[in-house]
Amino acid sequence: MRKMLAVLKREYLAAVRKKMFIVMTVLFPVLMSAAMLLPGLMVARGLGEKKVAVLDGTGKLQSAFTRTIAPVVPDPKKALRGRSRGELPQTIKAEYVAGTDVKPYLERLNADRNASNRLDGVFIIPADAIDGADAKMTFYSRSSTDVITQERLGSIANRAVQRLRLSGRGIDPNTVDALTRDIPTDAVQLSRSGEQKKGGELNLILGFLFAALLLIPSFIYGLEIMRGIIQEKNDRVVEVLVSSMSPRQLLTGKILGVALVGLTQVTAWMVMLSAVGAYAGTVASLAGINVTQFLRPMVFVYFFVFFVLAYLTYVCIYAVAGAVCNSEKEAQQLIAPISMLMMLPWFLMFAIITNPDSGLAIGFSLSPVFGPLTMFVRALVSEPPLAHLAISIAVSIATICAFFWVTAKIFRVGILSYGKRPTLGELWQWLKVA
């Protein structure tokens, strides 16, 4: 026990004193908040100006494009509700031309970067836009991903065309706007306990945020423990260690030490994030969204439980990789496909968050390895039955025990094997013999 504690203490101090730990502790929340606040900042600042030539084959839509299309007024309420999509704050400077001669404008699209007449896009409205059944507008740009500009120009043109069509049928253009007004949709979640939650889009962001908080430390410190084991092998420290204690003591000390490091870091992050969150929460409540309805105290309990479970699962896997490999490069190659597999719930996160009670989400949340992350996200965005929570936790604990047992055995043999990486068959032998 004392020896295990000695290893734990050493691992903890060694990791916490590293520059990487300090950098990660400070930088990660900054990056996270940046990711959260960036859309808001973009609303405030705008994305700059786009110069677009609008070639109007109909020659009748000039009024829609003559004025500069100004950035949408920043509205924190809308931004927080995620409704800023499609109306991003970008000034579009449209150069209106009645005609169909595209060529000179396409040339200007690829003009020299500094040329004053360089265009960012060319938008073409065909002559039969108003009456033709198969009419199609075309948007040329240097990057086909400039969807935002495309959407905005498209909707402006469509609206203008609609006005023309309707006024062609004798409807007063001024009443057209009123008639074609869009009605916004609000998301309201009706939970099992009957309470209503507004602003469901925020749940999506929170889900991703907490999933990242749960996953990233596991991977970082999993890698760290793998690297540590390989380094101990390369530095031959391990021989002194295993001649002084059992591999199980050594492994326990190591994993718990690194687990403590992860917890320290996550605690630091939580403190920092709650400071940012307090600010964001104030803004949000100004916008009429009660943030505390998503961040119930239980969320933090769940986070702690599932963080520890996920962490220990991943760290064990990485420890085995470290024990069977001789160089970091080799270990990276071995672990890359495995970690992709472990990340599976992350790749399906959108589906899980949006459908937390689907068969997919339930299946993942009750399975080993994927369980902790998926179950936590389910618990965050919905109210899963207690039985599911209990099964998930039990499965995870069993998984960790099994992994730990296997790891300790492989560790004992693998840690001193300096030769080539063992094959699966040899690993099986190790399990039986050691």
């Binding site: 004392r2 391990v238 002194v240 001649s243 204690m245």
Partner: protein
């Protein structure tokens, strides 16, 4: 003297290789036992089994220090052949850690660490990081780590490799001192000169088997007094070509000649007198190095052929 460590018929196989093939020997309390052999002979594997890193496939290892409860490993001090230290740690912290994993802690440890560091002229390196130390100094730090917990049995795998002559003397004196304190030392080395200077008993391992075993005196005596040690001035290369000389090693005006059965050393002396200034002429038992080469050298040649 009582036996503290008994290795009986120990076998360890790695894949198709029998690294240790039925090794048996015993170590007497308060002696220095030299575990000799070429690289790859099976010394390190044998030691790893004694220290509990590997379990033998068959055979037993009995360590009398196991009595008294607690972890028997804590009464063994082990200096591995491949030195290993945490390079990022401070010397004093590392040594505290090494003492701790051997079950020793408390205020006395730091005091002892300082004492040892002084002795090895490492006092001012106390708070330096291990990676800032020279290789020789790192080795001394590891040796201190081996001894901090006051072990009864000290197992040293090539303790002097990589040390300069001054440090070699320091280590040699230290080992003698440890022996005088009643500790038992198992010294694995391929430096025959060192083994000859220090060991009471020797165990010669070759290809996983013990080929020679006993006290140094006995072993040397069994090889008879048919070796000539000559120190001289002049060109002594001809000594190796004289009749009755089976093997000669001639280095820097000193020759060690193995004579054939029944040869008369006087004839060699007569042949030399006119051609060399003789400073020393001694008929003695062969050196351990000679014995070593005789025991394991021939076989190597056969393998090469």
């Amino acid at each position: 003297m009582s036996v503290v460590l008994a290795v009986r018929d120990v076998v360890k196989t790695f894949g198709a290789v029998r690294a240790v093939d039925g090794v048996s020997f015993s170590v007497r309390r308060g002696t220095i036992t030299g575990l000799l052999g070429r690289n790859g002979a099976g010394k390190t594997t044998t030691i790893r089994m004694i220290t509990g890193i590997f379990l033998p496939d068959s055979g037993t290892i009995e360590w009398a220090g196991g009595v008294g409860g607690g972890d028997a490993r804590d009464r063994i001090g082990y200096l591995p052949e491949e030195r290993g230290l945490y390079k990022q740690m401070k010397v004093v912290e590392l040594l505290q850690f090494l003492a701790e994993i051997k079950g020793r802690r408390g205020a006395g440890v730091v005091k002892d660490i300082d004492k040892w560091l002084q002795r090895f002229e490492l006092g001012e390196k106390r708070d330096a990081k291990v990676e800032e130390l020279s290789k020789g100094n790192q080795q001394k730090v590891q040796l201190i780590g081996t001894l901090l917990h006051d072990p009864e049995l000290i197992i040293l795998d090539e303790p002097q490799s990589g040390l300069d002559p001054v440090n070699m003397v320091i280590v040699r004196d230290l080992l003698r001192e440890l022996k005088e304190e009643g500790r038992t030392i198992l010294l694995s080395t391929h430096m025959m000169g060192e083994a000859e200077r220090m060991a009471d008993d020797i165990v010669l391992i070759h290809r996983g088997k013990v080929v020679l075993d006993g006290s140094l005196e006995q072993v040397k005596e069994s090889f008879g007094k048919n070796t000539l040690h000559i120190d001289y001035e002049g060109d002594g290369d001809f000594l190796g070509t004289l009749p009755d000389v089976c093997r000669a090693s001639i280095v820097n005006n000193a020759a060690e000649l193995s004579l054939s059965e029944g040869a008369d050393p006087q004839k060699i002396l007569q042949a030399s007198v006119g051609r060399l200034r003789i400073r020393k002429f001694e008929v003695a038992a062969p050196s351990l190095e000679e014995i070593f080469i005789e025991k394991v050298g021939h076989e190597t040649l056969e393998v090469v052929r």
